[in-house]
């Protein structure tokens, strides 16, 4: 069955550093991979979508990579700020695959 893995442990980093979050998936080949941010008590907010034929996508301080061979996406936040602290969810999707969300990784940026 399809499986999505994100680090369940919180990622603690110092302000100004680059945060890197990992999303691994198994047993399917999605055409897209989406990343969302979720703050406590709020709904997820869409950040970026990368297509299977794109290696990398950027938006301001965010960068996403998509390696279909490794079945992995990496999500980077450069020059991180305490306001970036949240849970980040990945969601492979597309083709015959409905978007299925990972459990998310909590990012904590310390001032």
């Amino acid at each position: 069955s399809q499986k999505i893995e994100q680090n369940s442990e919180a990622l603690n980093i110092q302000e100004g550093k680059t945060a890197t979050l990992t999303c691994n998936y198994t047993n399917y080949s999605p055409a897209y991979l989406q990343w969302y941010r979720q703050d406590p008590g709020r709904g997820p907010v869409f950040l970026l979508l990368i297509r299977e034929n794109e290696k990398e996508k950027r938006k301001e301080r965010l960068k996403v990579t998509f390696d279909t061979t490794l079945k992995q996406s990496l999500f980077h936040i450069t020059a991180s700020q305490p306001a970036d602290s949240a849970t980040y969810l990945c969601a492979p999707s597309g083709g015959s695959y409905i978007p299925t969300f990972g459990r998310g990784t909590s990012l904590i940026v310390h001032p």
Binding site: Y32, Q34, P44, I98, P99, F101, R103
Partner: protein
């Protein structure tokens, strides 16, 4: 404001009751969804409608019945509520059902069954 809005935000009810959650989007999207987020924070799809037609119906008890009167509205009715139904329910929408666009989520309805 363009958004997905769902009501109520909080719902506390007794076991056995019937309740409804309403969702509306003014983004002009064709596809709407209901997701359930449990206490372990897993976000699981329940239903999806595309232009008022049901296109996804995951393994959800038939006590849950979605209704889409038009493509801007998707409501969720739950009969005979059980303790295990306690969760946060999110409504979302996307441009279409190709799943190649990001979703816009509502702020959630926290359902507590006592």
């Amino acid at each position: 404001d363009t958004a997905v809005s769902q009501t109520p935000k909080y719902l506390v009810t007794q076991m056995g009751n019937d309740k409804s959650i309403k969702c509306e989007q003014n983004l002009g999207h064709d596809t709407m969804y209901w997701y359930k987020q449990d206490s372990k924070k897993f976000l699981k799809i329940m239903f999806s409608y595309n232009n008022k037609e049901l296109i996804i119906n995951e393994t959800v008890p038939n006590r849950f019945s979605p209704k889409s009167p038009d493509k801007a509205h998707l409501n969720l009715h739950i009969n005979s509520l059980e303790l295990g139904d306690s969760a946060v329910y999110f409504c979302a929408s996307s441009q279409d059902s190709s799943w190649g666009d990001g979703y816009t989520f509502g702020s959630g309805t926290r359902l507590t069954v006592v």
